[in-house]
Subunit: 357 residues, 2 copies
């Protein structure tokens, strides 16, 4: 990851739960071979799987020193809080990792490399600070070019932040590959970048270039793939992040959409305004997403990715059935039940809409 | 402007026309007392008004030396090209201005202050480089707070870039003030900032914070105003800039919208894809804007600001009448015919929707 194989310690102090430690959980799910330990002193002694259901027997440990004993050689910040600051209490852990010569990988909005204390500690320890969210060079202005690729481009869109758009995109790409399709995952956020080892955190680029960077990513991915699955961000209904959602939608110019939602979530999870913004019904979300797509390029929603975290097996199944009934579209929890129905919906869509030979 | 009264030279080499030199024309329209000369060697010898209809007898001159003779003491970059680069040929003019000790004010995406050549020239000349588009500190996350202010917030939204959203907002605020209302203009782009001497160029902030910065600006302006008129950017139909448009819409949480359009423009002016993206009919634009607003806070379009640049007087009047007929809303060219109808529509809206005392 980020230049070389690593043995990561995932820093998730006090927050190592499936809903709080999104980045850590995703790295454990998709790159467990690179994880040596998770740091959360409040859960030390358990395994990763006991805390989050992923990561098997990877140990949860007390601190950086214990992670070193477990074989770690790099530190990855395992949370992505709203606003993107480093929790103050984590500063000492970062400094200790740097003192040990560990590279530190971060997806925060605040750049660790711009912190003089961290920069000098890194220099002393011979370590590198990787800020995944730092905007790459360039000022690409989108122009709908992604609509013209031969590949079928699909975008995961959401009812809110943190409902599973990245996970759905990864799972759909893998399910397509398992079916023999040439499929690529396009990461537009820091967690996706840790998994894919490429991409751009478009929520951190100057807003004029969100669509442009997305367009560049899609054009690159479409060179070697027949199906390009783009990770969406935020939601067009979100008072803080709707702009990022729409910029990605119009930069990617998808031919099809997959709507992602967490079953049972009724309101946006907005720290400053909990319970204020109701999430519309699924059918209304489908209509809104299709309307927003049409402003640049029409794209139907072809399936629903339902995150059923916290539900029992029967409830989760019932939620998928209810979503199918409400929307008339295939619905699945791609983690729990597999992304097969969504992959197949996209393959069918491609067959029906392939450009004439 | 930007710290002290100035005698500006507006750099618009080869582009000093109403459509190309948006920034220069706006500064001439709203702060002519601070302009000593316009630099455009291809039009030297004429007056500003002869080239653009604004700026009266302010001279258009050959170069920086001639602007100095005309009394200039600062240089302002008078264009805002897509992509935001400095035209290569203008480099020498910037260096000469700095050598003379002139401050240089720029609204480009590329920051002059980050250019080592410019920075050292500024240091040698004792001059300052003001990059209006540099993001201010902070990472504000919007949460719909602007919906709760006592002031009536209105936003100018558009059919495309460069149709007159900033000008409409300034003219409406002035027309409201002329009618005795406590009205404030909120600048969200570099040209508006040059006019208002405050604001944030939200198209240049990390995209996660477009709505947040807009929210902060509205909350500040609402402290001393009963009507807050926010400058919109881009268009929700624009493949490159729709995200910025939606971020401002949901950050400002306006109670009412004013739709801005250039009469006769049929397609988006996108340098890389001219003639590709058709602009929908006005009635459809109204519907789309209201729909996008409703995702966070419902807001009706209460009037149309029509930019009739290039039309004759009779045609311009006919275009406004046609727009009124198509939408059932008051329509005016705020520059040519005055913003009175829009100001009055907003005052009526405020009367009808004022919070109960």
């Amino acid at each position: 990851m980020f230049g070389r194989p690593r043995r990561l310690a995932l820093l998730a102090e006090g927050r190592f739960t499936p809903s709080d430690a999104k980045t850590a959980v995703s790295v454990l799910r998709y790159r467990p071979e690179e994880v040596a330990a998770v740091i959360d002193s409040t859960r030390a002694g358990r395994t990763a799987a006991e805390c989050t259901g992923v990561g098997g027997t990877i140990p949860v440990v007390e601190d950086v020193a214990a992670a070193a004993v477990a074989g770690a050689d790099s530190l990855l910040i395992g949370v992505a809080p709203q606003g993107g600051e480093l929790p103050v209490a984590w500063r000492a852990s970062v400094l200790e990792a740097l003192a040990r010569g560990w590279d530190v990988l971060s997806g925060l909005h605040v750049f660790l490399g711009d912190d003089p204390g961290f920069a000098s500690a890194a220099a002393r320890g011979g370590a590198r600070l990787h800020d995944a969210r730092r905007a790459p060079p360039g000022r690409p202005v989108a122009a709908g070019r992604a609509a013209a690729v031969a590949a079928t481009v699909a975008l995961t869109v959401g009812s809110d932040c943190n409902v599973g758009k990245m996970t759905a995109a990864v799972e759909i790409a893998r399910a397509l590959q398992a079916r023999g399709a040439r499929a690529a995952f396009v990461a537009t956020g820091q967690t996706g970048m840790f998994i894919a080892d490429r991409g751009v955190a478009v929520d951190a680029v100057p807003s004029d270039f969100v669509a442009g960077f997305t367009e560049v990513l899609v054009l690159e991915a479409a060179r070697d793939a027949d199906l390009v699955i783009v990770e969406g961000q935020g939601s067009v209904h979100h008072p803080a992040y709707s702009g990022v959602a729409l910029g990605i939608l119009h930069g990617a110019c998808p031919a099809a959409l997959v709507l992602c939602h967490q079953a049972g979530r009724t309101h946006l999870r907005l720290a400053a305004a909990p319970g204020v913004f109701a999430i519309p019904p699924l059918a209304e979300l489908v209509e809104a997403q299709e309307r927003a797509a049409r402003w640049v390029r029409p794209a139907p929603v072809v399936g629903i990715a339902l995150n059923t975290l916290g539900l029992g097996e029967l409830e989760a199944h019932a939620a998928c059935v209810a979503a199918e009934r409400e929307t008339g579209l295939p619905a699945t929890d791609p983690v729990r039940f597999g992304a097969g129905p969504l992959a197949e919906a996209l393959m069918a869509f491609r067959r029906d809409h392939a450009p004439a030979a």
